[in-house]
């Protein structure tokens, strides 16, 4: 199965990206790729929820919570970066618990609707609580990240920070997916009635997958806040949440590397029109095309191409005259 081949290739790609970008590219490329890695964290951390069969369209809300928490703690209370990042992630997780606990017991569609509404709620809170977040004027003056008291001033050093975070998070997610817990999640996604009848507490396990995703989304948000150093509430809205979903679907839902592939591929391709409506148009068309024509996502593309090639050689012995 392709599984054995795909993982080392993707890891090699990630390693290459990690090492080469600051060396080859200028600050602009470092910036772009830092955001790509942020997207990888967001996409991969949504996967456990999706594996459980929960359509979560609110992931960006937790990124927002992590971002604002870390930013405000660091800016207003001079909390060191490591602590503020952790606090951001933890608060995002707590908020996830508050939302997830009542909603995950419901049918999947109710949960999806709650997440969509919730993204709006978080955006509104950030927007209206002007005294805390500066609302629509945006929160600026966020300190740069620091490790053990040393500020990471250069773009390259911040880039390596996010690469490090990404690798650690991916490792944790990988281990979990391949543990017994991961198997339980998968069984819930495949047939939750059956899982329940075999003694699986699906509510608790779904909540766990959800909260784990929230923790990492909060982490990504915290990094983002100290990297971009300016936060604006509408950024973390419905569109970003949908994008994270798109990374998973277009990349492929069937394998761990799916969201990683989707995030890298789509982030890079959409870079020219980042921030404009065309970015969203691009994402939504990619999503629709994938669902209609390549439902397994990009990771199934090699297999599909191979099938196509063998079909063509079997049925077309002579070359066409126009070739």
């Amino acid at each position: 199965m392709r599984r054995k081949l795909g993982v080392p290739i993707v890891l090699a790609m990630l390693a290459a990206l990690a090492l080469l970008v600051p060396a080859l590219g200028g600050d602009y490329y470092v910036h772009v790729f830092a955001l790509v890695f942020t997207n990888v964290i967001l996409a991969a951390s949504l996967r456990p929820s999706l594996t459980c069969g929960q359509l979560n369209i609110g992931h960006s809300a937790f990124m927002s919570v992590g971002a604002y928490t870390s930013a405000l703690l660091a800016k207003n209370l001079a909390v060191p970066f490591e602590i503020s990042l952790l606090c951001g992630a933890l608060l995002a997780t707590l908020v996830g618990l508050a939302i997830g606990y009542p909603s995950l017991r419901l049918r999947g569609v109710y949960f999806a609707m709650v997440t969509v509404a919730f993204v709006e709620v978080i955006r509104l809170i950030a927007q209206l609580w002007v005294s805390l977040t500066r609302g629509m004027s945006g929160l600026s003056g966020i300190p740069k990240p620091s490790i053990l008291g040393m500020t990471l001033t250069s773009r390259a050093s911040q880039y390596y920070l996010v690469v490090g975070l990404t690798l650690v998070i991916l490792l944790v997610l990988w281990k979990l997916e391949h543990s017994r817990l991961g198997l339980i999640w998968k069984s819930i996604g495949m047939a939750d009635n059956l899982a329940q009848s075999l003694g699986v507490d699906i509510a608790r396990h779904k909540l766990l997958a959800f909260m784990l995703g929230c923790f990492f989304a909060g982490t990504a948000g915290a990094f983002y806040a100290h990297f971009i150093r300016f936060l604006f509430p509408p950024e973390f809205g419905f569109l970003m949440a949908t994008n994270i979903l798109v990374y998973n679907y277009v990349g492929g839902r069937g394998h761990f590397v799916g969201p990683i592939v989707g995030a890298i591929f789509l982030s890079l391709l959409s870079e020219p029109f980042r921030g404009s409506p065309y970015e969203t148009i691009f994402f939504s068309i990619a999503m629709l095309l994938t669902i209609l024509f390549l439902p397994g996502g990009l990771i199934t593309l090699p297999r599909k191409l191979a099938e196509l090639r063998s079909w063509r050689t079997a049925s077309a012995p002579t070359p066409s005259p126009a070739a």
């Binding site: 979990l176 543990s179 047939a191 059956l194 329940q196 009848s197 075999l198």
Partner: protein
């Protein structure tokens, strides 16, 4: 001695009573059949007994403990396990992997082991899984993908998974519906063997031959209420039951 006692079991949907004040008792070691025309409330009963639906009224006592209102996984953990009508299985996994998931319940893994143990199952669990497959006659198909198995085998796999969860009371939801004579005979033999190993059985079925031939006691539902109860010969000769079915299906009992 009763292993299951349902009293005044009622489930309302809007104003409609799908199950209406049903009393149901199953004694240890019995094979009891639950029958009735379509829409009689049999599946709703099953869902109520196994926690997939909350009773609007009534109580359910399992082995002396009140399980009314408990959730499905809690009920299953106490030894009341069910199968499903349709081929609800983990289609993208092998037969063995399906059964191994059934073993999860009693695998005794604490949270730390759940997180860090490798997904590959330890040898003793695999052995137990293979035993269950052997017992149900599915051993040759252990490593085949479930969705590639013929329908009949998939239904038996459902039973195998339920067995892996070590039930004291097994609720079979239409175990032989849609099977031919051979297959249904084999499955009902299996049911008898399961009982002889100490598991009590309650089953819902439309196949009258299977029900009459295997169950010691039969409960008949109609319009959500208990219509009759007794031995196969009592039930099959009861005029009320025959009328409820209007002769369909009872003819070949």
């Amino acid at each position: 001695m009763a292993i299951l006692e349902a009293r005044e079991l009622t489930r309302l949907f809007g104003g409609l009573a799908a199950v209406n004040r049903v009393d149901l008792t199953v004694d240890k070691g019995e094979i009891v059949g639950l029958i009735g025309p379509n829409g009689a409330g049999k599946t709703t009963c099953f869902n109520l007994l196994t926690g997939f639906l909350r009773p609007t009224r009534g109580s359910i006592i399992f082995d002396g403990q009140d399980i009314t209102g408990l959730r499905p996984h809690q009920i299953a953990a106490r030894g009341l396990v069910r199968t499903f009508q349709l081929t609800t299985l983990f289609q993208e996994m092998t037969a063995l992997e399906n059964v191994l998931l059934g073993l999860h319940l009693h695998s005794g893994k604490g949270p730390r082991q759940v997180l860090f143990s490798r997904r590959d199952y330890p040898a003793d669990e695999i052995a137990r899984g293979r035993d269950v497959l052997e017992f149900t006659g599915l051993a040759p198909h252990a490593d085949k993908l479930t969705r590639n198995l013929p329908h009949g085998h998939q239904r038996v796999l459902g039973i195998a998974m339920a067995l892996a969860a070590q039930p004291r009371l097994l609720l079979l939801d239409e175990p032989v519906t849609g099977m031919n004579l051979d297959e249904s005979g084999h499955v009902m033999d299996l049911v008898r063997t399961i009982r002889s190993r100490g598991t009590t059985i309650l089953l819902v079925e439309h196949n009258m031959k299977a029900v009459m031939g295997t169950c010691e006691r039969i409960v008949v539902l109609n319009f959500g209420q208990k219509l009759a109860e007794g031995t196969p010969s009592q039930v099959s000769t009861s005029p009320a039951v025959i009328q409820a079915y209007l002769g369909t299906g009872m003819a070949d009992a």
